[in-house]
Symmetry: C2
Subunit: 382 residues, 2 copies
């Protein structure tokens, strides 16, 4: 299958590109490399040293004989995107190429505008490019479980059967996103649903949980193939951030009471879920939503898990509670359905002590790279 991985230089995109390439697919990466530039802007870095995209794909070719084409450019530049479609004739377009940090989108007006404009218009361009150049191409779009917020009813996969005043309909699941970033994904979902309806586009929206982990079998083959690992208050996600705090002797800082429950999955499952979606494309005109996570935990649970494993490794850490920079419920109902990917064959990598230990080991190997003043949150929702 000819597959474009947009955002293929990023934390989820890079391992996905390698995995799909290894499975024998003809993979092209599209990326504007902005995530690397944001490291400069925020004076931040990945704990793991990461090679340039050029070095990465060259090493991959050297080790496997497989070629990954690269197109460095921006989805917001339609001429560029059109050229990519003409040259690659994709069967699937995997779309990771969005600004994906909630705190980054909340820095100030300019960052909110950048996030929504970049994500929404970039995605609109992808829809038009599919319509114009590859109408059979399957759009596999990364959404987020954060689109749903924390309703007091069960979260279904994209749609909800509603009975109201004696009548019934199956409607898009109501969305209550919690940042300008999460909102951008909700906007995308609505735009894609409409494009499927009017143009017959095939699309799968992967409402992904919080991703943890670092290595996949492919990124572990050589240090040049290593994946990035974020730990800072802007791009670091809960579990990875706690592990790096443990590795550097920092308290594990839980926002508020820590009762916030979120859906999680291992980066190894991210790459497999994308493969499953690609191998089982949506029908013509279908807008399909998969909830892409394997387990859910409260933030407090996660911190305690990390504390335990770190303790067994001889690292004493404290779980401390800091003012929550976000506006969110700290105690709430949470039950979300995730059966569609399981039905198609996903076998989850669950969050075992072994998994936490693996990430902790990688963090300890590079702990001298951690910029300590970046660890605590500096961006407030208010």
């Amino acid at each position: 299958m000819r597959i474009i991985v947009a955002g293929g230089d990023g934390f989820c995109g890079w391992p996905t590109a390698l995995y799909l390439s290894k499975q024998g697919h003809e993979v092209s990466i599209v990326d504007n490399l902005v995530r690397r530039k944001i490291d400069d802007e925020l004076r931040s870095n990945s704990v793991t040293p990461i090679a340039t995209l050029e070095e990465r794909v060259a090493k991959w070719k050297e080790l496997t004989g497989k070629e990954i084409k690269t197109f460095v450019g921006d989805l917001n530049h339609y001429d560029f995107l059109a050229e990519v479609f003409k040259q690659t004739e994709p069967d699937a377009f995997v779309h990771f190429a969005e600004q994906r940090s909630a705190p980054y989108s909340m820095i100030d007006r300019e960052h909110a505008v950048y996030t929504q404009s970049n994500n929404v218009i970039g995605n609109l361009n992808v829809l038009y490019a599919i319509k114009e150049f590859a109408p059979e191409c399957h759009l596999i779009k990364l959404g987020t479980m954060g689109e749903y917020g924390t309703p007091n009813i069960d979260i279904e996969e994209g749609y909800l059967e509603i009975e109201h005043n004696g009548r019934k309909d199956k409607l898009p699941y109501p969305k209550q996103p919690g940042s300008f970033y999460h909102l951008s994904k909700v906007h995308d979902s609505h735009n894609i649903m409409f494009a499927c309806k009017i143009w017959g586009i095939r699309a799968t929206d992967l409402n992904q949980g919080v991703v943890y982990g670092l290595h996949t079998d492919e990124t572990e083959m050589d240090p040049i193939l290593a994946n990035r690992l974020d730990y800072d208050g802007v791009y670091g996600t809960a579990l990875n951030r706690f592990i790096i705090q443990a590795a550097t002797g920092h308290d594990l800082t839980v926002y508020g009471t820590g009762g916030q429950t979120r859906a999680f999955l291992n980066i190894k499952d991210t790459v497999r879920c994308v493969e499953i979606a690609a191998e089982n494309p949506a029908d013509k005109g279908e807008f399909r939503v998969f909830n892409q996570f394997t387990e859910y935990f409260s933030v407090q649970d996660l911190a305690e898990k990390v504390q335990k494993v770190a303790g067994e490794t001889g690292l004493e850490t404290e779980v401390s509670h800091i003012d929550n920079p976000r506006v969110e419920l700290e105690q709430h109902y949470y039950h979300a359905v995730n059966t569609k990917l399981r039905d198609l064959g996903l076998e989850p990598n669950l969050l075992t002590d072994e998994v936490i230990k693996g990430i902790l080991t990688a963090a300890l190997n590079h702990k001298d790279r951690v910029i300590k003043e970046n660890v605590l949150p500096s961006i407030s929702w208010k």
Copy 2:
């Protein structure tokens, strides 16, 4: 009350600005005059001749002694918007300043991108300006009944009580908008709801039906104050378009079977609804949704009403059916709630034969201005 009317040079904004000024409010108009430029782009015009904004407000001052300040500029330019907020210190911000034609947004990719970027980012800027310069200012935002689409259940005002698997919640009403324009309003609604939650902004989303009519008591005071009247396939809305077709001896062209049912209101009720919202502001942090319409009709019903009144005036017209350029259901359930504005005192101007005759008379007075090749739809959803 100090009120900004953004989009105050347009079809709804101009009569609203006059009406609020007449009621004694201190009104400022903000407008980038783009609707006039779009007339040039589309080689289109208003059936009624319209004066410049400068002439309009000068005449208003001459007739009433009341001053309406004008700020010509774009909500997408934040420095400009910030300056407007600093100079006016608004108690209410009435936001009509969006690209408001569904067909225009469907012309091609560039028009879709323009519509979503202009509307969503402009509105984001307004939210940030309120937060930064006027945190108590009440945002009165024009949404559309088209945000809801045509679900098979009753349409409520913004929220829906849902019972699911034995649990209950009140959630944002699921949205199924039918064009990139309608989608932009859905994106706005989600962004505003979030801003209310995190910053305590007061907002009322007026989900307005299709507006018909032309005159208000104020715009009738002098030809220089006349409102615009669109009839073309891009900006003309159903009822007004039928009336102008009748006035110019054109068949009344119903899209498809004409079973599409939509909510309508008279422009005289638009201005009153905005006043009601302004006089009864939302609470701090409240995101309130009013469905702003008075009646609903199928498109076929409307055509037949116009045919009847035109016939009584001696104008013989045929109702013809043309291919539907839109992708939409032509037969569907439609029942929408609109009690909140009524409860606050709205007394509807219903669609009587007299009302149709009034618009028809205005159209006949200016029928030589109609550019006939603009009447039929030229933009397809596919």
